[in-house]
Subunit: 153 residues, 4 copies
């Protein structure tokens, strides 16, 4: 092997981590909601969000839009994880139980299908007590550019 040839030869899990880190840095909306990166590899992504007063809706539980945003962030990191930029085309969410003030929620994304262009990802939102809070299914469409230019899988 020629010297330096392997400098950018990253494992898929390393690429996913680099992309997720970079996307979270740029993602001011996730920062506003207090969304934190918990785990990334090329198979799965987990992010978390602590429910504070500012996350509550008019009924006193976590705003459904913010539960969606938590799941959507995990989805975005997962469908961009190979460094091919992708955007959400559509998503469905089922609200199973309310998120309550003071809870920390996790959203874990798993790839179900990834074709050349379209992908389908399942995201589960769970509470620390193991309770299922929401089920999210996202459909992604790839763009023809990288998330991080020059980063090669």
């Amino acid at each position: 092997m020629t010297p330096g040839a392997n400098v950018t030869a990253l494992e898929p899990a390393d690429v996913a981590r680099r992309v997720a880190g970079e996307m979270m840095l740029r993602d001011l909306a996730s920062a506003l909601l207090g969304i934190r990166l918990e785990f990334v590899d090329d198979k799965q992504v987990t992010v978390s969000m602590a429910i504070t007063e500012r996350h509550l809706n008019g009924h006193g539980s976590c705003h459904g839009g913010l539960l969606f945003a938590l799941a959507d962030t995990a989805f975005a990191l997962a469908c961009n994880g190979s460094n091919q930029a992708a955007v959400a085309a559509a998503a469905t969410i089922d609200f199973v139980s309310p998120g309550e003030l003071g809870e920390v929620l996790n959203a874990t994304a798993t790839m179900r299908v990834q074709g050349k262009r379209l992908g389908v990802y399942d995201i589960e939102v769970t509470a620390a007590d193991g309770r299922l809070v929401a089920l999210f299914r996202g459909r992604s469409a790839r763009l023809s550019r990288a998330v991080i230019e020059g980063l090669k899988p």
Copy 2:
């Protein structure tokens, strides 16, 4: 008519306005995102959100979760509008075009079906230039309590 009999006899549109006003006051999540109430009657609800830097995702356009949250707020106001408390059971969103920094988006909710318990509402998210940004369809389930106790339609 006996004196005072009509004190609480509000029109459906008035009830919807009172409920929406009260729910927005309690809704800290919508306040965090800068969501504002634009129009309410018993047929339709419109809310708006200006896209600032803090609404942007890792690709530099409005975070899909916040587009969803905008639509979800309009949905919540519409499905609670008769003062019977209701929650979102499920929703689907199609992302049609990105929301850009500096734009003000509107989300308008219209009732499609409202049975004794389950409802279906359509929400359109549009930009000031008339562009369709997202299509949202929400399914609601009524609880057995009022939003505002003592308020009668």
Copy 3:
């Protein structure tokens, strides 16, 4: 105008009718279910299905899968209507009221969004008494071929 120049210059509504007629001829599944073409132009498509004994599910009302199939047929005719072949990528259906034995149901498809490749269409399934039976939203993806070779809009 040179002689013959206008031979294939069809109006968009004519193209939609030619495509719909051709697709229905080829569509043995719709024939099996008794689905009939009722109306086509470039804005809207309506198909119908009479509910017979063979359409019933284990609860004695029209099988939800066949309600979906009726709506899906209208969707297919609408999203292929410009003669660019397209397939369903995803769909959501809300079942509003059961379809009963002896009823004739209509499904009417309307385009909501049609980009270069992806489209979103809304389909309503109604009964003859005006009752809403189901709401269907379909997402289509265009292929790079025509439905009818040589037919030009």
Copy 4:
């Protein structure tokens, strides 16, 4: 134990089998499409459908409505499996790859959530070669009656 006390004390898996058998007998729509019961217990249901000429749509592959109907049948058997009658309230389907003439497809339903009234079920449609054909997610609502009167879990 008194004699005869245990006559109707069936295991949950037995109840699910009895209910599924009874529902398939009554389900003329599934019979029309050639849908067959392959496996049932209280955790999972699998049904199958062989794609014949009469299942094809205008593009020459299995009509999406019939793929949906196959998944919907598995969903119905799963959400009625405890003998409390339930109906589909809504469903989403993602079409992943076409079903081809001559293939036998399986649809397997798994319960994700079952509350007192609402449930969420995931159904996968796969081909004999292991290929994923469609992902279906159904939301059910229970009625206040049994599927088979007198059958006790």
